[in-house]
């Protein structure tokens, strides 16, 4: 239904300029149209993100490469922006396919392959859209804290509207556990 309405609207407004729209719609109507279209677009993006597929056009990789952003602490040395969408490397769909299909997965990895980030993308995606509880085991506590921070970054760098759709219950994951006696 929405698709038909959008197609009709696109047909009607083909070639229209902002001036045409201002003449055609009153201030309130234009605001309403804008809000309705934004809501339709958000629904569409949300639906694409929620999918359980290993693809750059839907699912966690779409979310990471198009919607949210990662942060690169080596951005100065690498001449890259500090915040950027996750890169579209051709081995990511293969890795995510394995994430989806494997109950237990061992990934031979090396530095700079972004496997830690990939794990966090998968984990955060599963938590946000599928209420999953994901356990990522790491070699030590420092590394565990870093990965939790990756998940926090992925959540925080989403657009406002998406964070509002999936509010955090708490942001206390990085707090230290109570000291042992």
């Amino acid at each position: 239904m929405k698709t038909l309405a959008i197609q009709e609207l696109i047909k009607q407004l083909r070639g229209a300029t902002p001036k045409d729209l201002i003449e055609q719609f009153g201030e309130g109507e234009l605001r309403e149209l804008h809000e309705s279209l934004a809501s339709i677009e958000h629904d569409k993006i949300d639906e694409l993100c929620s999918q359980q597929v290993a693809s750059f056009t839907a699912g966690p990789l779409y979310w990471a490469t198009t919607v949210t952003m990662t942060e690169n602490p080596k951005y100065l040395q690498q001449g890259l922006p500090f915040k950027a969408h996750f890169p579209k490397k051709n081995y990511f769909p293969v890795l995510f396919e394995a994430f989806f299909k494997s109950k237990r997965l061992f990934v031979p990895k090396s530095r700079e392959t972004l496997t830690s980030w990939s794990s966090c993308i998968y984990a955060t995606h599963q938590s946000q859209w599928h209420k999953a509880e994901v356990v990522v085991q790491t070699a030590n506590e420092e590394k565990a804290k870093r990965l939790v921070e990756y998940c926090r970054i992925l959540y925080a760098n989403q657009p406002d509207w998406m964070r509002q759709r999936y509010p955090l219950k708490s942001d206390a994951a990085l707090s230290d556990p109570a000291p042992k006696n």
Binding site: I6, I10, H34, T57, A58, E97
Partner: protein, 136 residues
């Protein structure tokens, strides 16, 4: 004998008379030399400390010296960081605090809104045209 309102003759004798307010035998108010407590504090601050050791220094000056001494030598000679902080705040002012505020306040003009509508339509058209191009 009661006056019909349950009050005895003795009570009636001590009762407030018409036109009389307050207790005529009560303590007299001291004259208002300073007007208010704050004014009194300020005025007395400039008076000389009666302690002969102060050598005529004002109460304010003595208080300032006590504060400095407490800051550097109080608490058994260890000094008091809290007092140092209070002095620093007085002299330099409190450091500016940064409050992070995340608010989404967008006031678009008609022109900008119209542009946004067309841009959103264009993106939605691309979505419609692209179809399902998933890898699996």
């Amino acid at each position: 004998m009661s006056d019909g309102r349950g009050r005895s003759a003795g009570t009636r004798k001590n009762y407030f008379k018409p036109g009389q307010s307050g207790n005529p035998n009560g303590l007299k108010k001291p004259p208002r030399a300073y007007g208010s407590f704050t004014k009194a504090l300020r005025a007395i601050g400039f008076e000389a400390d009666p302690d002969p050791d102060s050598k005529g220094a004002s109460n304010i000056e003595v208080a300032a010296r006590v504060m400095w001494w407490h800051a550097n030598h109080g608490f058994n000679g260890q000094g008091s960081p809290k007092t140092i902080e209070t002095i620093a705040d007085r002299l330099d002012g409190r450091p500016t605090e940064t409050i992070e505020l995340n608010a989404n306040v967008t006031q678009l003009s008609q022109e900008e809104r119209a542009q946004e509508v067309l841009a959103t339509l264009e993106r939605l058209k691309k979505h419609e045209d692209s179809g399902d191009t998933r890898i699996n």
